[in-house]
Symmetry: none
Amino acid sequence: MKSPRERIVEITFELFAKQGYNSTGINQIISEAEVAKASFYQHFKSKEDLCVEFLKVRHEYWFGELNHFIAKEKSLKSKIINAFDFLVYMNEKENFRGCSFLNILSEIPMDNTKILSVIQSHKADLRNFFLELLDDNEFSDHVYMLFESSIIESQLFKSNELIEKSKKIVTNLIQ
Amino acid sequence: MKSPRERIVEITFELFAKQGYNSTGINQIISEAEVAKASFYQHFKSKEDLCVEFLKVRHEYWFGELNHFIAKEKSLKSKIINAFDFLVYMNEKENFRGCSFLNILSEIPMDNTKILSVIQSHKADLRNFFLELLDDNEFSDHVYMLFESSIIESQLFKSNELIEKSKKIVTNLIQ
Amino acid sequence: MKSPRERIVEITFELFAKQGYNSTGINQIISEAEVAKASFYQHFKSKEDLCVEFLKVRHEYWFGELNHFIAKEKSLKSKIINAFDFLVYMNEKENFRGCSFLNILSEIPMDNTKILSVIQSHKADLRNFFLELLDDNEFSDHVYMLFESSIIESQLFKSNELIEKSKKIVTNLIQ
Amino acid sequence: MKSPRERIVEITFELFAKQGYNSTGINQIISEAEVAKASFYQHFKSKEDLCVEFLKVRHEYWFGELNHFIAKEKSLKSKIINAFDFLVYMNEKENFRGCSFLNILSEIPMDNTKILSVIQSHKADLRNFFLELLDDNEFSDHVYMLFESSIIESQLFKSNELIEKSKKIVTNLIQ
DNA sequence: CATGAATGAGACTTCATTCAT
DNA sequence: CATGAATGAAGTCTCATTCAT
């Protein structure tokens, strides 16, 4: 059996992604991780602390999956297009749960800078991901914003329709 | 003094928009609205019910403000551009609180169809708003998605930078 | 059955006096008072709040008992002497638990001014009790201090010995 | 660097005197003493055990300071008076924290005989201190009790007023 | 239509102590 | 003798909702 800390992180990964931050209580986490409550607090100063850890793990996971997903593509253009396909893949896999980072952004008080900055940093990385591929600040942000909308709108409408539309738009722009 | 129901709705309007759904308790609402608890439940079956009412009021308010904001513009193009300026205006006014609808989307359990459908309907109306202006399904959705990102990214980074960028992009596209 | 609030106050009265402030948890109080946890917090904002209420009730009770105990005495001198006998009576009744006010004084952080001032006010009243009887500021404080020591030393040694000694001293001084 | 045991005892000395028994956790002690948890339990069976050690150290310290403080005085009378000045000195030094022994008396369950007897023994020594100086059982206890009140009342009112009053009373009695 | 007491189920957190390494 | 992860039990407090008046 894995260490309590590992079990906590794993379960948190699942639950925060599936149910969100506020809907997931410490009690559920420790009960599903089969860990004593005090063991939890040995490793994490607070729920907020756990949230930061979760976002870090999620960050690694998400970019890992994304890079893996587009790795097989050769051309720049198809890499970009595949990034959108990655969203479809994730929606299928995670049942249109949207972006964990943006979801938590909505769930925390606006003045929680500790968590906010982790989220900002994740999105800054994503913005940079497109910048490095496209090497044109304005166009890369254009794609980034269509990408962001794609995530949100597919979460909202439980449908990949607008992802596909974005793909088409980007395809046309990218010539 | 206004009726209890009106007072509840008004206070809820302020509090949900400012603090979010989960961070606003029934107790705060009834105390600030100076209404008895059971009077509250006379008018609203549950907090969820109140949320639906809030979203409806917010919908009216938001589109009202938007239409008023762009009414003075004559040309189609400047109407669109001004819609983005409206976001800047709202951010200033509401301190980068983002979109109430998307925020609540993140705060509720995924299977809450009652609230979900109100949010979907609001965004469908917004999508239609651009469609009616632009009369081109693909292009209007393109603008819609940049508009949505603009809201979210400005909330995330507490900055209007990407709204301005979107404006520039749209300006170029719209020729 | 009495109201929840009454039951809480009664049980608290017993438990704080018997076990002290820190050793008595909210859980024990509500379980013995057969009250829901949230009912408790309907009536008392916090444990500190309950403590203030307890001290007020205790204040009334303690002075009530004291005055009743010495009421039968005619002469000033015998009233004073009987006040010390009251301590013996209370020790017997409450098993040498000492002064609730001084006990709590030791249990709270030094900067808790809310509770501190209630304790100070109780002791100021006691000091005044002797002043009104004796009408001589220095002598009344002398008696007050012997009275205070009597309480503490009898708590410490679980014995009325020093109360009796104080009685003798005061008797001799009072001629 | 001193031995772990010494470091524990030193830190405990500071913390128990400053914050009290219940407000000082084992974790704070070991962290400030820079000692491993199990090392702590190597040396002390329990927190209660540590408390006993603390009281012993405090006993030595307190009487050491007291005796040193009054050593310079020649006459019996001025030794007694100076004992009261010692209380003023300690209040200034320790910010009206009162008597560590009486504070802990209030913080422990009444049936904790192990700690109780250490406290009793300390106060018996103090009572004896006055007896040896004054050689008159009744008068020495009279002074002892004024001394005890002086400590407590100055803790309660954060003021040396009643110490000064006691000094005056004792001065008059002592002729 | 108004009142506010009462509630069950949960929230998050900390305590002193033990144990495997 | 040192380390720090793991623990059970308990801590205080808040939630949306119901009910008797």
